[in-house]
Symmetry: C2
Subunit: 193 residues, 2 copies
């Protein structure tokens, strides 16, 4: 072994995540990252590779940490539909509570990079599919448990909720009033009745 790092890679990634989340990929400069992560160029390039590789690590962290953690709540046994409603409301409440209205890093990145970055686009598509599939499981369970009417289509509803969530993020970033966003969420959720 040799001289140990003076920073904790995980914490540095987290700092980078905050910057990318706030400013987007292109608008974030290496200078921004160096400042926020509080390390020097050499350390950054040696440890994380170039800007693009760092961003991939950030995306990975965001998906597995931030998002995956919350979505895993949906797969727990118990009443399905109330949990789903709480989840949706919680996500939106969280988005509205952010004073910077940064929205969701996944949606932000889809909009900024998907047309030109096929690899990243593929990753993001998988994440959105994962979200849809999680919604599908909880809806199928709700149907099985008699919480959801028999004529409802879990797959269609799962897709609907995924799309709805993305739309809400756009509206939040556009600066829509909180009460309008909440009303829209309730309107969307009414489709589960």
């Amino acid at each position: 072994m040799s001289r140990p790092k003076e920073f904790i890679p995980d914490e540095a990634i987290e700092k980078a995540l905050q910057v990318f989340w706030h400013k987007g990929y292109e608008a974030t400069s290496m200078e921004d990252l160096l400042t926020a992560m509080d390390l020097n160029r050499g350390s950054l390039y040696d440890t994380f590779g170039d800007k693009r590789q760092l961003f991939l690590k950030v995306i990975d962290r965001y998906c597995h940490g931030f998002v995956g953690e919350k979505f895993s709540l949906l797969d727990q046994p118990g009443p399905a539909l109330p949990t789903l409603r709480l989840f949706i409301r919680g996500m939106i409440e969280g988005g509205l509570a952010d004073p910077q209205r940064r929205g969701c890093l996944i949606a932000n990145t889809v909009m900024e990079l998907s047309p030109h970055e096929k690899e990243i686009a593929g990753t993001l598509r998988q994440v959105l599919k994962m979200a849809e599939d999680t919604f599908f499981r909880v809806l199928a369970r709700a149907k099985q448990q008699g919480e959801l009417k028999k004529d409802k289509d879990p797959r269609a509803l799962a897709r609907f909720l995924t799309t709805m969530l993305q739309g809400t993020i756009v509206m939040i970033k556009a600066g829509a009033p909180a009460d309008a966003v909440n009303q829209t969420a309730e309107t969307a959720l009414s489709i589960l009745d």
Copy 2:
């Protein structure tokens, strides 16, 4: 008078629109614009100002031309709800038909610039409000004409449709399969029944 322009400003703006729509604001360089618009630096700066001013003109053109034109169809007399359904399906069909999946310039710009460009953000918020208000008018008319059930709330539904459209744009840019997007649109429209 003096020497006339060798280009048509309106056509040049249209070319710039295509580039910004495809690549976004930051990722579009003046070089890209000069090439696409087929004019030289001097002419561009003299006629349209700097990059930001040009972008504002592009946004304006997109809103009044592209979007305003289509939304104006909703205010015509006659059956309201079928027209609204056709409109929504048409918008989504159009988005799916674009091989580049560029989505909507307004949504793209909201996601890229809203947090940092307050002036542009304000403009875009107005445009989204205009969309919501147009949906509201057609829904209120539908209710008045007995096409929409009495217990439906036109304002809530208008907001819902606006949000839904934005979400669909995200999914289209994310590369979602056409049939999934269409199914989601039908699920969303079923809320009008």
